[in-house]
Amino acid sequence: MKTITIDPITRLEGHGKISIFLDEQGDVANAYLQIPELRGFERFAQGRRAEDMPQITSRICGVCPVAHHFAATKALDAAFNVEPTSTAKKLRELMYCGYIIYDHILHFYYLGGPDFVVGPDAPPAKRNVLGVIEKAGLEIGKEVIKHRAYGQKITGILGGKATHPVCGLPGGVSKGLNKDEVKEIEKMGKSCVEFAKFSLKLFDDIVLKNKDYLDLILSDAYTLATYNMGLVDKNNKVNFYDGKIRVTDQKGKEHVKFDVKDYYKKIAEHVEEWSYIKFTYLKDIGWKGFKDGKDSGIYRVGPLGRLNAAEGMATPLADKEYKRFYETLGGKAVNTTLAFHWARLIELLYATERAMELIKDPEITSTKIRNPVGEPGEGIGVVEAARGTLIHHYKLDKNGLVDKANLIVATTNNAGAINMSVRDVAKGIIKKGKVNDGLLNMVEMAFRAYDPCFACATHTLPGGMPLEVNIYDKNKKLYKTLRRNL
């Protein structure tokens, strides 16, 4: 591959910028998605009080505050050498289920779903949540809003604040549940189970029963046979909050299973000169460039990665769906990128069922919610953020202040795969220098499936996510630019 140098300034842009490079024939040689990376966290964290990290890190990203909050809290459990009480673990997991519920609902109905419900070829003005409501009906729109709010309410009751929780402490949580709150959560949880079941049926009716969509899902352009990674419980079932990290190969066989404290022995980071993102890969396999297959160390995380890395779901209804998923899509592993959407809905069902199990557990109202901490040291914590495995690592000094901090976020774990997905779709669409107008959306569908978090600010300014695709000819001269929302 010829060396491609992109002015470092362009690396800082706060939006997804895609560069596509053509070869002599005008076909795609390579494509890159530039994801802005926030910098300077280690320096920012240095010298701060360890107990502040769960609050501080929940502000890193407007998208996954709850995931950062608990990855940090679990790292502090380890750093202060304390095991949280059984009730504290259950409260944390219950809150985590609330987060998965609202996050996955938002993605399916607002972001990923419109491509399928309204159609991938529909004009952008229609291909949004309003288009979904137009097609599915106002009543469904109300249900979407209601259940997303339930997920947030559950998180809020347990976490103090839905968007930026304050409950996680090393050794436990700061707040327990009373009987009234249990009743309230139970009522909402029950309704969420039904809504998750409905969502899967909707996916069935609209997507799986449509041959065109099924063909699109199974097409080569959207297929990537990488390794898969996710947290599993002791029975190798998907778990969001706790367990071991399991990696499976392209056929779904276990490659390695490890405790998060060994992550740096298993995961390494590769640097490319055109991106601030570090691309993670499996150390024992090695970095072989942007390739899939068993000789390349690239892996995927997130809903599809988790389902592939596990052997089932720990709740009955979700497990049934899990089996159907593999029966329908041709066995393990499912390597088609658009199956992320289906996997996400199966996880939504699991999160609702798991929330119900936890809220019915008699121990959930116990007041034993915190164990005393030990001496400060070093700790590593892991959770499954909605979009994939998230690791926090802190070294504390003897006064309990942060000396060193390192984070591996979900989208970094997926960065290699996202780039390949974008490249493969571009290859299928651009032939002999001819650029199809549907390119923007097809490319966007490829990376949207991963639900990436571009680690950017919480900016609110209206407008959809901006996207710019620059296409360069064989001499690296700009050949064409496609833009939206810029």
Partner: protein, 152 residues
């Protein structure tokens, strides 16, 4: 009339947090039961939740521009906002959230939504709690403009 003033941004992402710096100063200058001042580290749907039930909303946030001066303060009605954007791929925009809510019969959306925007050319990507010199000088201007907006 009930008004909500929201400083929006990320307080640990240097200039991105400018809206929150402005809101904190306003808290010291305003003491009126009909005016709520808060900070929001969020956008889209979550932001809309914070606006519901008020007659008027004033949102203070960084606005990305390609040309022009950084650190300027501008008053922009939400309806004029089609060229600005959020950079968060996991949420809808505030405009989209409002359209959706309207369609579903939400009656508590403020009649007037005004953005007090502080212009920036680059979105901050470096962690820090302090504002750059240029953006810091915009804070008193934004405070002033917001106070005027409340009076009107």
């Amino acid at each position: 009339m009930k008004t909500v003033v929201l400083g929006v941004g990320n307080p640990i992402l240097s200039d991105d947090g400018v809206g929150i710096h402005v809101a904190n100063q306003l808290k010291q200058k305003i003491n009126d039961p009909n005016i709520a001042i808060d900070e929001a580290l969020t956008g889209g749907m979550n932001l809309l939740d914070l606006l519901l039930g008020y007659d008027k909303a004033i949102i203070i946030d960084a606005v990305k521009i390609d040309d022009g001066e950084e650190g300027e303060v501008k008053r922009i009605p939400l309806s004029n906002f089609s060229t600005m954007h959020s950079c968060n791929p996991h949420d809808v925009s505030l405009t989209e959230a409002i359209q959706m809510a309207e369609k579903l019969g939400e009656t508590r959306i403020p009649k007037e939504i005004i953005i007090i925007g502080i212009t920036m050319k680059k979105l901050p990507c470096e962690f820090g709690e302090k504002l750059s010199e240029k953006i810091a000088t915009a804070v008193p201007k934004a405070v002033e403009l917001t106070l005027n907006e409340i009076k009107n």
